[in-house]
Symmetry: C5
Subunit: 325 residues, 5 copies
Amino acid sequence: MSESSPPPTTGPSTGAGTRTGAAVRRPRPTLSQMGLAPGKRTRLKRLLYDHGPGGGTLLILPIDQGLEHGPMDFFANPDSLDPKYQYDLARDGNFSAIALHIGLAEKYFHEYAGEVPLILKLNGKTAIPSDAQAFSALTGSVEDAVRLGADAVGYTVYVGSPSQDRDFEQFRRVREEADRLGMPVIVWAYPRGDAVAKKGGKESLYAIEYAARVALELGADIVKVNFPVPSEKDADSPPPYNALKLTAAEAFRRVVHSAGRCLVLVSGGEKMGDTELLAKVRASMDDGATGIIFGRNMWQRPRAEALRMTRELHAIFREYAQPLP
Amino acid sequence: MSESSPPPTTGPSTGAGTRTGAAVRRPRPTLSQMGLAPGKRTRLKRLLYDHGPGGGTLLILPIDQGLEHGPMDFFANPDSLDPKYQYDLARDGNFSAIALHIGLAEKYFHEYAGEVPLILKLNGKTAIPSDAQAFSALTGSVEDAVRLGADAVGYTVYVGSPSQDRDFEQFRRVREEADRLGMPVIVWAYPRGDAVAKKGGKESLYAIEYAARVALELGADIVKVNFPVPSEKDADSPPPYNALKLTAAEAFRRVVHSAGRCLVLVSGGEKMGDTELLAKVRASMDDGATGIIFGRNMWQRPRAEALRMTRELHAIFREYAQPLP
Amino acid sequence: MSESSPPPTTGPSTGAGTRTGAAVRRPRPTLSQMGLAPGKRTRLKRLLYDHGPGGGTLLILPIDQGLEHGPMDFFANPDSLDPKYQYDLARDGNFSAIALHIGLAEKYFHEYAGEVPLILKLNGKTAIPSDAQAFSALTGSVEDAVRLGADAVGYTVYVGSPSQDRDFEQFRRVREEADRLGMPVIVWAYPRGDAVAKKGGKESLYAIEYAARVALELGADIVKVNFPVPSEKDADSPPPYNALKLTAAEAFRRVVHSAGRCLVLVSGGEKMGDTELLAKVRASMDDGATGIIFGRNMWQRPRAEALRMTRELHAIFREYAQPLP
Amino acid sequence: MSESSPPPTTGPSTGAGTRTGAAVRRPRPTLSQMGLAPGKRTRLKRLLYDHGPGGGTLLILPIDQGLEHGPMDFFANPDSLDPKYQYDLARDGNFSAIALHIGLAEKYFHEYAGEVPLILKLNGKTAIPSDAQAFSALTGSVEDAVRLGADAVGYTVYVGSPSQDRDFEQFRRVREEADRLGMPVIVWAYPRGDAVAKKGGKESLYAIEYAARVALELGADIVKVNFPVPSEKDADSPPPYNALKLTAAEAFRRVVHSAGRCLVLVSGGEKMGDTELLAKVRASMDDGATGIIFGRNMWQRPRAEALRMTRELHAIFREYAQPLP
Amino acid sequence: MSESSPPPTTGPSTGAGTRTGAAVRRPRPTLSQMGLAPGKRTRLKRLLYDHGPGGGTLLILPIDQGLEHGPMDFFANPDSLDPKYQYDLARDGNFSAIALHIGLAEKYFHEYAGEVPLILKLNGKTAIPSDAQAFSALTGSVEDAVRLGADAVGYTVYVGSPSQDRDFEQFRRVREEADRLGMPVIVWAYPRGDAVAKKGGKESLYAIEYAARVALELGADIVKVNFPVPSEKDADSPPPYNALKLTAAEAFRRVVHSAGRCLVLVSGGEKMGDTELLAKVRASMDDGATGIIFGRNMWQRPRAEALRMTRELHAIFREYAQPLP
């Protein structure tokens, strides 16, 4: 049986609510399996083992919403408008890394250098123009990342967008530069565009599983995905997706499986309640995710509350720790 | 509390008309906070402390209107059609710098070199074609700026334009070259395009605050913004902007806050009366602006009147002077 | 008579069903005839003689469907979702090479390096957006292929697409880099786009024969073609195609002839029954094909069945073996 | 008073018909004022003082109409179809330079090298497709000009065209290469496109004055302009142009003023009668033009007549001669 | 009188049918007149004097129709589908050169190297998509041509196409590389696009004469033109073309005249009868053409017939031989 076939379960799959824990955990790809060149391996090892919860897991704090959504996201917690808020949270909450664009890196990271690992997000856009032809232009380069001491770069691919060809081409250049300089690449794999909308939408399993596979095919080391949300719109997806009738957990397991030897980061999305959030994290880790990348769910909380939640996440992540193989 | 949270006030916020002065002043980012490489720091220090009003402030004279608006702007003061008028005014009025395009730099700056610091504007367009897809092509390069002895470069980003992706990409190249050569970058952050118009317009807080943040995210060192103008069109902005009901002064304070560690320059726009102008300057400086960039409000005045106004501005700026930290 | 005129037959052409075997076989181009530079010749010799069935034939396993079609293709055989399934099959079934994109190469090939020759597919797209302007952007480069130890690169040209000019230009750069580095180029020659649809469709002889010739003209070393499917839509093809009335076998022979000194690989397409598949292989080889590139017809089968089929294919290929000239 | 304010007149401005001569002449920019690097100054000095009428004037013969208009322009004088006709005329009529594209330079200039200075026109288009998106692609480079021994390059900017952004970008590259190699740049500043048509048309003062300023802003050393033609269409121009009511001479003076330290060349346009032509030249020179660039008005005449007219022009230009400052 | 004025005739122009032979022949440009750099002169001398009919003439065999038209052109003579047919014909018929794309060069030319001069065609397209925006992308480079030992490169310009600006830009790069490497450039000058259709069509004198001039202006060394075909559609051409009433021969003479110092190659087009073909050749050579480029008119004939026709052409060309000046 091949390495990533679904592992044996102790009973019929019953969704996230009734899982029986570590026994059904799907193994995460190891650094050795990933065939990494030394530079990538050095940097990924730092993120996975030397910072944050460690043990081969990732707890990442993104702060690219000021560009992607605008300052509106900071109203829920006015302190969060100042990027120092997130930097402090990343340091004091012992995150594996903080992920942000060049401006926030150049203007603030110097005060945290060596304390908080940096993931430089390399492309972005605003939410102002239409998403119909969604495409994120470059805001930085792999060389910027090297210069700043970053340990990975982030890149958003809009899978299915009419601009997909420009995106693939732009990503290729980033990927090649990252290969040359030994810089790990994290792909934000987001389905977008009219054709996606017509085939079940950007939250459908069809779209998200496809997006995860695209990240693997194009050369991502880590892929950030959203949880698929089964809905009646799945009926518009191509076969066999239009007839699958999976639970959300089963759907997510397919996504992880399709990502192959890319490490999977689960996206937080809009702010959730505590119980829901922690359940989502456990379910993700059980199904083979390597970690989470939660922004608004972290920094839209007041600092004390955010730090408390961070401690809870660390506790969970410890359960999933693995020694460096 | 993080560095840029709104400072304590001596009473409820009451708008620009009733402010009580230095006690409520918002601190400006310092050169040390900005994490500048030596070349950028050297040049910014010259602009902020060695020329113009000094003390960490900026008084900049732009003369790019001949390209952006056409010669029509010079009718109000026929002498102003000759670029020497503005150069002389910048020198004799002791401005921090003059900002203009390559042609006016190459043909005139040699007579003022060493006397008036130069900000080379790197992109522009005419007002003739429609602004629907607003995009300013490059007219010069950072290397031009270095060759000419400039102390900063200027770049216009049309935030929200359908051409935003080309703009981000073009800006990135400029920003990278500026990083490489140690040249400070000033972003003219202008909301533009249909989507902006539909979401409250280019003078809305939503649009201007977003634009200021974009400049920060993309790596500007200084951002030039317009004053937001609260209006009933704000009802079209996304939440929570559509329900904010802020005064103009409160709105501007948000913009400065969103710009983070970018120094903020306030734009003059169309010519105002003296009282209105000076009030605008004080309000801006109280709220954390580093300076102003007034063109038509300066050079559309006869020379004697413009010099008198300049002296008044210097007097105000002295109140906001800070020692080099 | 020129080298590639149709060879003498022992009787009237009667289609694939009644062919009389080796006597009517069309000769394949030899490496010497192809005018190859040493690097290309070294690599092609490895693929044609040192791996797989050998004797100047090619048996290639493609696994680019995860990108081109999405994970839906893996439902028929759930094990196939894990790329190791295909790698194992290529190794254990002794294929001439495996063909895939950069991500599957970087993450998995290191475990098979030296055992399974690699063909790096250099461009691709998803099936999500419309095919009306079909164009596959680059996902990798010839230098990637060299770095990974690949023996050839693959490139998809969408002949007849409105984006054909971008495609030709992009291919030219790949072809030049391949010439410079001695890397053989395999062209997936696919007719696509509205104009193709109006002239008989992408399965018409008109379109496929034209596509094969385009590959030859543009500098492919090997061309992958689909079997033309004669149909009443041929009436829409330009003369003389609209009046040809050829059997499928006669049509295929024209395609091989038009490919000139490009080696021809026959595409499998959707999964067929065993008898049909083996007949297709024999017919192709009789008519001058150098080999086959079967994906779903291989890895959508359970492993044991796929290996059995592979052994049958090897047996057939042995009949067509030729010594290295 | 600044250098380029309108000079004192001996009475109220009365238009070209009643001017009183040298007393009201507007001074031309000097090479020293223009801030030229040594290479540009060397080459401009050759054009302005060592060839043609000299004394700081320019008499230029363009022959780019074969590309811009097609051979139709040569019917009026069949001899003119052969480029040797224009080369001979430029040499025997002692023009300051001949201006043409790369093909006419490479194939004919070798017979005139050292005798007739060369201005290499770097971009162009045909008159066949619509002018709605007018854009002239590059046909040569500054390096071509250097290689051929040219003393300047010419570039057409279509101010106001929807393609203006591509044009500015392309021009910038030319301008930078010219700065690097010390090559003077002459801009053919032509208003074009729908928006121009809607705002008074390409012959309006609004459009031509704007175009002259754009040339100055973008870094031209010399600008070629057409004479504005006041008409009732000016009512469509933006204020204050829609209410100016200037004579043609007053309008032209504004254009020269707006060009600042760019030397101004007046365009001939369609063939005129002798009296009209000579009056146009005098008026232009009185108002600060540095010279003329007349094509059809020269080479559509029979050789003897063209040479006679050239002698008359030389006589006029001698009146405007100035010593090298 | 300038070099290329129409030569004196022995009587009124009477069209091709009644010409009186060598007395009215228009002289061809000489290599010295063309101002060629040594590399270009070396290669052109080989084509014009050392191969083919020689004496300063050109007899060229093109085989780019497989790309431009598709394999349909080979049905008339099935042997012609194999490129060896054309290579053999070029060698055995002693053509001046064979002209084809990179694929046919790389795969076949090695067997003819040193025997048949090579003209590498550098751009092309298929006939499948619409010609409305006709543009031929690059398929090879001047460096490819040098590497392969070619003596010239070919490039198709679609004069008047809406894509004309891309075409000019692309051609410029080819022309510059050819100048740098001393490689002669042959331009296939073809009018195309809607605007051409509206102005008399692609066979009108207006369009073809303009196209020939464009080739000269852009820097071609040799231009391939079609014969203009006077028709009533000429009434749609701009003046004076809409009223010219020329014979076909007179029209062709204008085309040659407009090409100036570009050598003119006459295109064959669709297959003609022998008498018509030979008359066309004589008429062309009388009017100043340097040679012919006949494809289908040669290789759609059976080999023996093609060779016979070739011998007749050689006999004609000998009449037009000139010693190397």
